[in-house]
């Protein structure tokens, strides 16, 4: 089904940060591929490199202290890591746009929301003032902001959190980008509003065919939105597969823990409750990752091999890969 050439392809991305504690290996061999109209979910604990993956694609990693050491980010075949800064300014907002966790940090408080959306459109498409304002109104309608003609003149602080998040989406989609990166787009919102935002993203994706990268720490949100899931741990992809496949048969011990440790809301809760499954310990410091599997200190199955050599990704099913020695065909397990 995914036979067509990918829209976006990331290959073997390496990102490092120089810190006082030493060099932090923030991304190590991250690769992904995205088809038009599809949604890829990225999950993992805080600090595992989800946002950094997004920033690398947009080429917004702060350099220094950061450094993209290796890899490629191909958009319709063009390697963005080799593109000029001028070209990147065209790409951002037009081909790839991003919505962030906290809308207030990316909306400018002193301009009306209409001006902000129109500005993006003028910049990228060279539309007239009149036309770009019309586009802004059209976008506000598309994200279901009531009385868009009037609201277009309002300022961010006059809106609720849910509305601001919808304005962010309107702005991100105003130039009809082919890729939308949504980094924890609903974390700050109530569940009822979060559900509205997700419905909206799905609806707009159906209309425009935009491909979405959804970053979240919430497996439930990913399950609802994504076709494919990538699980990250300490800067690496530890497992990836179609969403149903990963939910039904997670392979990597970390993915299993991640799914098992969340108390799921049941429609008919059992009267008795046992203890929750825990993943013991904490994520390692990225400055001293050593050469073994970085999950080894928290893993029940860790062996000497795990502690000395990092496992490569192994095929564990149809289009399903896990980076764990348990699945080494050669029979290390």
């Amino acid at each position: 089904m995914d036979a067509a050439a990918p829209l976006l392809e990331v290959e073997d991305l390496e990102v490092e940060f120089r810190t006082r504690q030493g060099t932090a290996r923030v991304l190590d061999g991250v690769a992904l591929s995205l088809q038009p109209g599809r949604t890829l979910g990225i999950v993992g604990e805080s600090g595992c490199g989800k946002s950094m993956t997004a920033l690398s694609i947009m080429r917004l990693v702060p350099v220094p202290p950061g450094r993209i050491g290796a890899g490629a980010v191909r958009l319709k075949g063009e390697d963005l890591l080799q593109a000029s800064e001028k070209r990147m300014r065209e790409v951002r907002g037009k081909d790839i746009s991003m919505i962030f966790q906290e809308p207030m940090t990316s909306l400018n408080p002193v301009y009306s929301i209409g001006d902000q959306i129109a500005e993006t459109v003028r910049l990228h498409e060279g539309l007239s003032r009149r036309d770009s304002l019309d586009r802004a109104i059209e976008m506000l309608k598309a994200v279901h902001i009531p009385a868009a003609e009037r609201r277009v003149r309002e300022f961010p602080h006059q809106m609720s959190g849910g509305m601001r998040q919808r304005v962010m989406i309107a702005m991100a989609l105003a130039c009809r980008p082919s890729v939308l990166i949504a980094d924890e787009p609903t974390t700050a919102l109530d569940v009822t509003v979060q559900a509205q935002v997700f419905d909206l993203l799905k609806e707009l994706q159906e209309k425009t065919g935009t491909a979405i990268i959804l970053i979240s720490h919430d497996m439930g949100a990913i399950a609802e939105m994504a076709d494919r899931v990538m699980v990250m741990y300490a800067g690496r992809i530890v497992e990836e597969a179609a969403t149903d496949e990963i939910l039904e048969s997670p392979k990597h011990p970390y993915t299993r823990g991640l799914i098992a440790c969340v108390p799921h809301m049941e429609e008919e809760p059992p009267p008795e409750r046992g203890a929750l499954t825990e993943i013991p310990g904490v994520v390692p410091a990225l400055t001293d990752l050593g050469s073994g599997c970085s999950f080894a200190p928290r893993c029940d199955h860790a062996t000497d091999l795990c502690r000395s050599r990092a496992p490569g990704p192994f095929a564990v099913g149809a289009d399903h890969r896990a980076a764990c020695w348990l699945y080494d065909e050669a029979g290390a397990a």
Binding site: V191, T192, F198, D199, D218
Partner: protein
């Protein structure tokens, strides 16, 4: 100070709140704009059984935190009664209030900002004992070491500063501090919301273990229904300062009666329901309204898909429709059939 005034069918209620109101008067910004009144908590009643966990859920701004802070007398109470262990808290002052406050402690949401960055972890845990004059200094040191052990920290970590701990460890320090004065009731205000799911499970297990060990009672605030369902025995759903539904955990999720509760439950993204599509689900339109001078009638009416004329005029009373299951909605009949029954399918 006796438990003699505890009421009701043999059950032992540690906290008994009646018709609690907390209103905040907003100052007038200029002569033209009238100052409003925020009806943050507007006449809620609930009782918490000793040794149990009572959950409060609801959207941002519905009054969850204010309701809990009022029980600790940390915000001015506009009206109503709060009995802790049979003692009326609203009229206490001075030493008597201080003594009662020892029995009730709080764990905050944000383990990053709720700990003083310049104090060592041991001193943070010890501070409430110092403030409330619990035991002598040697006993306090001993207790700090004991508490560190109980919450899964090593005693030598008492010498470290908050920034030297991970988020989950910091929340353990917060829990140890709350336990220091041997309270009976611990208010947990979104204690795991800021934590990664892996760490969240560790803290939830710890809270349950401590409850069993010390017979603690929790007032647990959260917007995460999965967490609430797991940890709470009884649950109140708040909307705009009022309790709209209340019941034990099994009954609430199996048979949600208030349309708002139903909407809340069906909005939770869930791996289990993945293939179910939109069946039996509802999307609320609009945003949560403003608690300044709320509308007459049912406060949920502006967003309720089932609202009829009467809802906009007349306020529904919270009433018991099944054993221990209370709801305030005009359209829930005595037969316990909620208005969403026709659409709800799986619910």
């Amino acid at each position: 100070m006796t438990g003699a005034e505890t009421q009701g069918g043999g059950a032992d209620y540690l906290l008994d709140v009646r018709d609690l109101k907390v209103h905040f008067r907003l100052p007038r910004r200029n002569v033209l704009t009238p100052g409003g009144t925020v009806h943050a908590v507007d006449g809620i009643s609930y009782r918490v059984r000793r040794g149990s966990t009572f959950g409060i859920v609801g959207e941002s701004g519905s009054g969850k935190t204010t309701a809990a802070l009022a029980a600790m007398r940390l915000v001015p109470v506009t009206g109503g009664s709060i009995r802790l262990d049979g003692v009326e808290m609203t009229v206490l002052g001075g030493d008597a209030l201080r003594e009662m406050r020892r029995k009730i402690q709080i764990v905050f949401q944000d383990p990053y900002s709720s700990l003083n960055p310049r104090m060592r972890a041991g001193a943070i845990v010890r501070e409430p004992m110092d403030l409330m004059d619990v035991g002598d200094p040697a006993e306090r040191d001993l207790r700090v070491a004991e508490l560190f052990d109980r919450v899964g920290l090593r005693p030598e970590q008492a010498a470290l500063f908050p920034h030297q701990f991970s988020g989950g460890q910091r929340q353990r320090i917060g829990v140890a501090r709350a336990l220091a004065t041997q309270p009976e009731l611990i208010v947990c205000d979104e204690p795991v919301s800021a934590l990664d799911v892996a760490i969240q499970a560790q803290i939830l297990n710890l809270l349950r273990e401590l409850q069993e060990g010390f017979g603690l009672t929790y007032l647990f605030i959260s917007h995460d229904l999965g967490v609430v369902q797991y940890i709470c025995d009884d649950i109140a759903v708040m909307y705009l300062g009022e309790i709209v539904e209340q019941s034990d955990r099994v009954s609430l999720f199996t048979l949600p009666l208030h349309p708002y509760t139903w909407a809340l439950i069906s909005a939770v993204p869930s791996a289990r329901r993945r293939t179910g599509g939109q069946d039996g689900r509802v999307r609320l339109q609009g945003d949560p309204p403003n608690p300044i001078d709320p509308p007459p009638g049912c406060r949920f009416a502006p967003r309720c898909p089932f609202a009829v004329d009467r809802c906009h005029r007349e306020k529904p009373a919270l009433r018991e429709v099944r054993a221990g299951h209370l709801v305030s909605c005009h359209l829930v009949g005595d037969d316990c059939v909620p208005p969403h029954a026709a659409v709800a399918g799986a619910c």
